[in-house]
């Protein structure tokens, strides 16, 4: 009986006129035998690479991915425990007619709310936040020092200024969180005000 099954499919490589063969044609192999693609042609500088650059790299798998996985796992466990044992705050239904004794913005705005106690609202609510965001965004264009100087010891001015700024923000936020009581007046928690006035 004749064999009726279809013959396996073959890719045909058309022969190239020998006089017009290029470097690529000489290397041409059937697609089926070449499970990769041509990504780029790189001009070779020398037949023998005299000096290979020192290789300080490691494989992403497993060296980087295992660390990432571990970090994500730890964070998941931490969040799970936190979520199991600490409940998110929830007070009574919102009521615009009942002003709470202590009304505070979310913690990341408490530095600004603290400034509001000293300065005109335009300064605390508009100028400072604009200055902070725009100021942060232009840091790389202001600090035009030596781009290879990345160690903190090589860029003392930048580090000191930034650190002072961070400490200032931290202190303001800290005061806003812990030392502000009813009517946003100064208060020492547990001493002249019952407990903390702070919700997360």
């Amino acid at each position: 009986m004749a064999d009726t099954s279809t013959p396996p499919e073959r890719r045909v490589v058309l022969p190239v006129d020998p006089t017009r063969r290029t470097e690529i044609d000489k290397q041409r192999v059937p697609m089926s035998a070449r499970p990769y693609r041509l990504l780029a042609l790189v001009k070779q500088d020398a037949v023998v690479r005299v000096q290979k650059e020192p290789d300080d790299t490691v494989m992403t798998w497993p060296h980087l991915l295992s660390i990432e996985f571990l970090a994500a796992a730890m964070m998941s466990i931490f969040l799970l425990l936190l979520g199991l044992f600490v409940n998110a705050p929830l007070e009574e239904l919102a009521n615009g007619n009942v002003t709470p004794a202590v009304a505070k913005a979310p913690w990341y705005f408490l530095g600004l709310q603290e400034l509001l106690a000293y300065f005109h609202p335009t300064v605390a609510g508009v100028l400072v936040p604009t200055f902070v965001l725009v100021g942060a965004a232009v840091i790389p264009y202001v600090d035009r020092g030596n781009p290879t100087a990345t160690r903190p010891s090589e860029r003392k001015t930048a580090v000191v200024l930034f650190t002072l700024f961070c400490i200032l923000g931290l202190v303001l936020t800290f005061v806003g969180i812990f030392f502000r009581g009813p009517g946003y007046g100064f208060a020492i928690p547990y001493v002249n005000t019952p407990g903390l006035h702070f919700a997360l």
Binding site: T60, I67, A72, L79, G83, L90, P106, R151
Partner: protein, 242 residues
């Protein structure tokens, strides 16, 4: 061969498994390269990274964990959305129901809340670590700017979400927060009106914050995150070593 080994073999030899993973477990350099390159989620990474960049004490995983928190918040947020209606008359009771009736509702809400605070905190810390490493210097200037946008988006995501439980904390925190910003010259009354949809926090505000929180800011964040990660690669990978 033990029973477990046989199960393992059967799974690995099955057509389904082999259609999912085209090569065996990556043990040599070549297959490890393929494992990263051929996976849509992993190919965000280069195949090789510089040695110092994988040290925990260089990045403290802060950027990566910020992103992981973003993902956790997306998942828990979607679950909460099933049970939450942004209506001044329903929102609060929805939250109560989520806490008492919905399966894992309390846990989901807790994780969403703590994860959100943690994300803001981690993004701040990430920014500080980038600064102290001088990693904003050329060629990474623009990625720093993208980062500042991400910081802004992260804070706005947290702030808009803060109103949604529609309790006293939420109501007054947003009232104070928007009052502060309401003093912009040009900007003041119109800006507040647009943001709040009225002269004070109310139903319009809730709807606006909801749409911003679940749609506008997450989308913008996703776009800027994509640019951020793309630029890390295009700027030559992680900076350093110091």
């Amino acid at each position: 061969m033990s029973f477990l080994e046989r199960v393992d073999q059967t799974i690995r030899r099955s057509a389904v498994w082999r259609s999912l993973f085209r090569q065996p477990y990556p043990n040599d350099e070549r297959s490890r390269a393929y494992a990263v390159m051929n996976n849509v989620f992993l190919h965000i990474h280069p195949v090789r990274v510089r040695q110092h960049a994988v040290k925990f004490a260089y990045t403290f995983c802060l950027g990566g964990l910020s992103f992981f928190l973003f993902l956790v918040l997306t998942v828990t947020g979607v679950y909460l959305m099933f049970y939450y209606v942004p209506s001044a008359t329903q929102a609060y009771s929805n939250i109560l129901a989520i806490q008492s009736e919905v399966t894992f509702g309390l846990l989901t809400r807790n994780i969403h809340r703590w994860g959100a605070h943690l994300m803001v905190f981690f993004v701040f810390l990430h920014m500080m670590r980038v600064f102290y490493h001088g990693a904003y210097k050329p060629p990474r200037e623009f990625n720093w700017v993208v980062g500042v946008v991400l910081l802004f988006l992260t804070i706005m995501l947290s702030f808009t979400g803060y109103l949604l439980p529609w309790d006293q904390i939420a109501y007054w925190a947003i009232t104070i927060g928007t009052n502060m910003g309401g003093y912009a010259p040009l900007f003041n009354t119109p800006a507040k009106l647009i943001l709040l949809g009225g002269i004070e926090v109310g139903q319009n505000t809730l709807l606006r914050f909801y749409v911003l929180h679940i749609m506008v800011f997450p989308l913008l964040a996703a776009i800027f995150l994509a640019v951020h990660f793309w630029r890390i690669r295009k700027d030559g990978g992680i900076s350093g070593p110091l």
